[in-house]
Amino acid sequence: MFFELFFQYLVAGLTYGTIYAIVGIGFNIIYNTTGIINFAQGEFVMLGGMTAVTLYGFLPLPLAVIGAVLITMVMGGLIEMVFIRWLVKPTVLRMIIITIGISILIREGALLVWGEGVRSLPYFTGNEISALSLGGVRLSPQVLWSIGVCMVIVLFLNLFFKHTMLGREMRACAANRDAAALCGIPTKNMITLSFVLSAGIGALAGCVVSPITYTQYSIGSGLAIKGFTVAILGGLGNSMAAVAAGFILGILESFSIWVLPTAYKDAISIAILLAMLFIRPSGLFGNKEAMRLKDF
């Protein structure tokens, strides 16, 4: 019984972890190319989920998901072009405030468009009660889907950034924007692209986790705080580390429930974040070397 419970909590932790991790990755992509923490990242997740549910009304599921991801990518690009592209050397403070404003506007806009109702996509495979049983430990197939999608995203990003010219250009832009411009790389387009990419990843996350968590106009900010925590825990800018940190945070939260009342679950995870910021701002997996050789 003890081991069964242990693994059940572990599975619960993995479920939380993947959700946090995917949001965290989205933060990192934009942070890397622009040095901006996009406080509206959670809203991309919400937009993806909501759009997919709407499209699912008249399209088969895979098309609805693809459509939602594409639409959200366009939204991400538009947001960058309208609000950010033309700013001349904005300060960090200004960028923080602008992205917070964007997040509020998207949220209120979603409330207008979709109302306050709760929606979800159907389970990709199986249904609400189906679960895979592994020696007494049970987990929903959708959890596997989200872990799988998370892994695919990480793999894709690694390939993209390490082995494609476009990926290298984005990394160059991230490492040193002036130097990238001196190579003739259109840095502004790279920044737009980073918004498009992270919007797409956010939207995909929103679709995959929607059967588990449901979507509602207001879920963005809660997810953003967790994603943010994970991004910083792992070390800003490092996607692999964000995934690892996501799992660590998810599992910690899950096991904290085993022993503690759950009312303070969020407070606990944020306290961990604060402690991290105070003691080791470079993150769990970051080190000074890595901060210098900033990489994905």
Partner: protein
């Protein structure tokens, strides 16, 4: 000096621009959480009120006076509710206030309504609103304790004595949890696990695992957020087959849709609005329920929810009292009329008010429902 004069002129113009009352209409204020964390309450409430007032005015109003509805969106913030309550009472001089949607807001303005001698018909559930009784404060939703008692009675029938309780960290969850804790001993129910989760929780497997480990015979979940659909899914996914009891907050078909197959067999107490069609024709509520359901769903193209029903009842009570008290009746007279109102058929049940009971509903207001094939249905006894 010239600037000062301009400034003064500007302020005077601004102040006098406030709308002037033209017709002898009856002003009714409403403070509802149309947006914000409790929008699932406030939004259908606001829609219901707008619809009802339109209907009443189309029929020529009450005793010849039209109703003028002033809805204020509080976003579930008590400080705004306070500001709005003062505005409605002092400036708009409303006859009555319907709402607020949440207990916290209602408690924040209970004294203001009392001091301003203005009727307050709350759409929030907690017992503290009407206990201790405040002269001018009424509420329309059923009592949490009645819901809990109905659940415990059902458990007795099913031979359940050991339960796990989950609730969300909202006013609704808190009130239910308190009643469960209070009433369990007298019904010989033992609470083995008692957990509160965050209202914005996205997955509750860990909480559910804790319940599973305690080997309970049934689970009671008390919340109104999406989390209640998540709980029910996670319970089934972890392979537990024990009965799941939900609160009357489960009375929203959206959550049943969201929980899909997992919702099958969930048992919960609720007003009869959700099962209006399948009620026996002898049931006195059937006609009222069907009428509300039909007009709401036609007008707004969305499923009716019990929360909108609370606003419906509030407006109906006010309408009845105004009619009975006659044209030109003052607030005090209408208040007494409500206090002595008996047998008013509403969506939540049949209201029998008294000076000591400002809710007027009893255990019978609830029907035990269950989910079958994705639809609400009356639980077979």
């Amino acid at each position: 000096m010239k600037i000062l004069r301009l400034f003064a002129a500007a302020i005077i113009i601004a102040l006098s621009a406030a709308p002037v009352l033209a017709a002898p209409a009856i002003k009714v204020g409403a403070i509802l959480a149309v947006t914000g964390p409790a929008s699932f309450l406030g939004a259908p409430e606001a829609k219901t009120l707008e619809m009802l007032v339109e209907e009443i005015n189309a029929k020529g109003g009450i005793n010849g006076s039209k109703i003028e509805l002033v809805i204020k969106d509080s976003g579930a913030s008590p400080e705004k509710a306070i500001s709005f309550a003062k505005q409605l009472i002092e400036e708009e001089k409303v006859f009555a206030i319907i709402g607020p949607s949440t207990t916290g807001e209602t408690m924040a303005i209970k004294n203001i309504a009392e001091e301003g001698k203005t009727l307050l018909l709350s759409c929030a559930a907690a017992e503290v609103i009407v206990n201790p009784v405040a002269k001018y404060v009424f509420k329309t939703p059923q009592m949490d304790k009645h819901a809990v008692i109905r659940i415990f009675q059902q458990m007795k029938k099913m031979g359940i004595t050991k339960i796990g309780v989950l609730s969300s960290n909202t006013g609704f969850g808190k009130a239910g949890k308190e009643q469960i804790e209070k009433l369990a001993p007298e019904h010989a129910i033992q609470i083995l696990v008692n957990e509160v989760y965050d209202k914005a929780a996205t997955d509750l497997t860990a909480e559910v695992t804790k319940v599973k480990a305690a080997k309970v015979q049934a689970i009671v979940n008390w919340s109104i957020e999406p989390a209640q659909a998540i709980v029910i899914k996670n319970v089934r996914q972890t392979g537990m087959t024990v009965p799941i009891f939900q609160s009357h907050g489960f009375g929203n078909i959206g959550y049943v849709k969201a929980a899909g197959a997992a919702a099958e067999g969930a048992i919960f107490p609720a007003g009869r609005l959700l099962v209006a069609e399948v009620l026996s024709d002898k049931n006195p509520q059937k006609a009222v329920l069907l009428a509300y359901k039909k007009s709401y769903e036609e007008k707004y193209k969305e499923d009716v929810s019990t929360f909108g029903g609370h606003a419906y009842d509030a407006m109906k009570i006010l309408e009845q009292a105004l009619k009975a008290a006659g044209a030109g009746a003052d607030k005090e007279k209408v208040r007494t009329t409500i206090e002595n109102m008996k047998g008013l058929v509403g969506t939540a049940g049949i209201f029998n008010f008294s000076p000591a009971d400002h809710n007027g509903l009893d255990l019978n207001a609830f029907e035990m429902l269950t989910v079958k094939d994705g639809k609400f249905t009356v639980l077979e006894k």
